[in-house]
Symmetry: none
């Protein structure tokens, strides 16, 4: 009852619909069920959102809007933060968003995150807009982190070379012309990192059967995030190293 008084019908419908769409998918979810769960009339959905699709779009927008607001990818970051720290924040942000029950997760391991996963798999028209508004900018953040990280690694390797070979090749010589050249290598790295995070949320049912220790639940967030961070740092390092040739 308290929910009914603190939220408008419209808000209540959006929240409830997030769960139900996530559990059942767009087609299988019925507005009847949503209306019932939201203690609202079936017709009120059409009144407020025009359409089942309209409701869906509203849910999606709300999900990304509030998800990124509540768990940004830059928690605890400042101007002096190292690329590693920034990457850790980024990964942590993704896990929090995806798993925390006040984010896209849920107590029952099937949450709104699945709605997003479904959307990534076959996007409805409403998702185009989400990609532009949320996903592309978010990708840019990661790319910029990786770019700085790669620069550091290249510097380290150069130093080691110098030590070994005693050459004079200076750090500056490597130039900043790497932006375009390295995008071919950075983009796959970004995908590799994101894929690890999303997979946990997306494949939760399989993980439960096959690797229960890694279940994407709140108490595992820290551990999973740390693994992904370490794995990815090693991955990027190796990619940069093998790019020397």
């Amino acid at each position: 009852m308290s929910e009914q008084t603190t939220m408008t019908t419209k808000q209540r419908i959006i929240k409830v619909a997030g769960d139900i769409f996530g559990q059942e998918g767009f087609k299988a979810a019925t507005i009847r069920k949503i209306a019932e769960a939201a203690n609202a009339n079936v017709a009120s959905i059409n009144y407020h959102f025009r359409d089942k699709e309209g409701l869906y779009a509203a849910v999606l927008e709300d999900l990304f809007e509030s998800g990124f607001k509540k768990f940004p990818s830059t928690i605890g970051i400042n101007a002096q933060s190292t690329p590693e720290e920034r990457l850790k924040a980024f990964i942590m942000g993704m896990f929090l968003r995806l798993i925390r029950s006040d984010g896209w997760g849920s107590t029952s391991a099937i949450g709104k995150g699945r709605l997003i996963a479904k959307e990534m798999m076959d996007p409805t028209p409403a998702f185009e807009w989400i990609i532009e508004k949320y996903i592309k900018p978010h990708k840019e953040i990661l790319i910029s982190i990786l770019s700085d990280l790669a620069k550091d690694y290249r510097y380290q390797f150069a130093q080691q070379e110098k030590l070994k070979a005693g050459t004079d090749k200076s750090y500056e010589d490597m130039g900043d012309d790497t932006n375009d050249i390295e995008m071919d290598r950075l983009l796959p790295c970004a995908i590799s990192i994101i894929s690890q995070c999303i997979y946990y949320a997306f494949a939760a049912p399989v993980i439960q059967k096959v690797a229960q220790a890694c279940m994407p639940i709140e108490e595992n967030i820290e551990r999973l995030a740390n693994h992904v961070l370490l794995f990815s740092l090693g991955g990027v390092k190796n990619i940069v190293e093998s790019a020397k040739s």
Copy 2:
């Protein structure tokens, strides 16, 4: 016509259903559409498979059966192969299965692989069986590869340590007691590797919008697989290295 004569109606339905279930999902796909595409009668589906669910289970079984047969995870591997080579074969196998149009992919980038992805997201009862029969054994293969790989890395690090410190700690001393201890670290690595492969197939629509160069299409398989191999080797190495403490 040739398709109609060389395949039984039952087979034709299974093949066609793979695509349609993949594109539309279980609920949204209709047996009418499948029947039409398979040039068969609507009722014949119920006749052959009892149920929409029965058809679905048959499709799933067929998918894994023929997918793993056509593209095993051990192509070009023999008893002398190094862990790196075996990992490369494993990754390559996944990509081939997921992307090749004669596997789970399709010419139009939305193929049967999505059916599997959907199944991972929320499994139907039919999938339990698939997990036991195909996925768990497959995971074991990867774990065993990673286990060997980790052993090699630990050996390398030990050698480096020896060089630096001149200790006598021998390789054998590390024992084989790693099975349980290291499983905590190996399992997440396995997940990290698999997640990268699957993500490409699963998030193809988003990748197309955001990182077109990495689209999971046949001509990119080699490149993508190489990236995932390098990234993952680095990842595992780093995980093993940081586990020393």
Copy 3:
């Protein structure tokens, strides 16, 4: 805007509803559409007219009231007018009402007249009252014209007979006992005349396909009215003539 300020909401709704009810019929027309077109709130219709039916009745009343006021059936008629002149005025009045866009017609050939046609086809309760108040009196006018016309014709025929046969039968002999006797013949004539006028408005879409030259549009009114007048005069004459026997 000017429309909004010069007319009350109520009036605006009535005017707009005339068109929409005419185009779509009572059932198919929606108060939402009407409200939108009238720049008014959906609920305001129920406020002003109680009911969808209430609005409909108001529209009907308004239609007849203003239609007959603007285009009476007696334009240019006075006490000395011949029956032919009066019939011409009557026919012209019908055409003007039915076709003129400031009457029941519209620029797009589908206008409020269709609402009336629909009402004639299956009357709503509201129409009963319209019949009593407008249609019956209007019919009486036509009957009275035809009665005088028939009298003239009978006189002519009598004269011709006299010429031929040299009889003495006088005009007065025919008496005024024709009211009841001839009503059997006059009533169908009235229907024949009215049917011709109404058909043009009512069957406009078919006429457009089959006899485009006769489309009931403003520039054709004069021509069509003249045809109906001539045709009907001939018709009545023939009816009267064949009634002699």
Copy 4:
């Protein structure tokens, strides 16, 4: 029950739908009501006719097909028949079709004919085809009758002129060049005739209130048809006569 066994479900639906569409109009009629009346399932309508519109089109087609077959416009006509006789048959045909309960009429004065009337008022897409297939050819028949009739009248007038003026102008002189010239006059006559017939069926409810003696019921057919014939003969005659100038 006998109806159920002698007719297929499809036929039964068509017959019943004719009445219901006629009574209520396309929009207001519900497939539920039709299905119920036809002792069939709601879904069977969609199965057999795809659509509510599909059913409607089928009904329309059936109506015209069987209506014109059962009551053609040429009953009792042969090669020697005079234009008057042919016109009488034409008018009679229309009345029979429109009024007879085994045609488009019904025992309750609201029959399938109203469906056609409604269609003339605002045609659905299905009606375009009906116009081409049935209405246009039917109009041509009437035009041809009127053309012959007019020729006769012109001959009569010519004879009378000859008598009065003693001129030598021969019948042949009038030529057959009238086709185009007179179409301007014949087409409106055709419309005048058809309008009278249709009006009876279409405006039955009003006629009942205003001119009960002329109700379009089976026992009045003969009388009404005779009136329309006489009225129209006079009308055409007058039109032809006034065209001399």
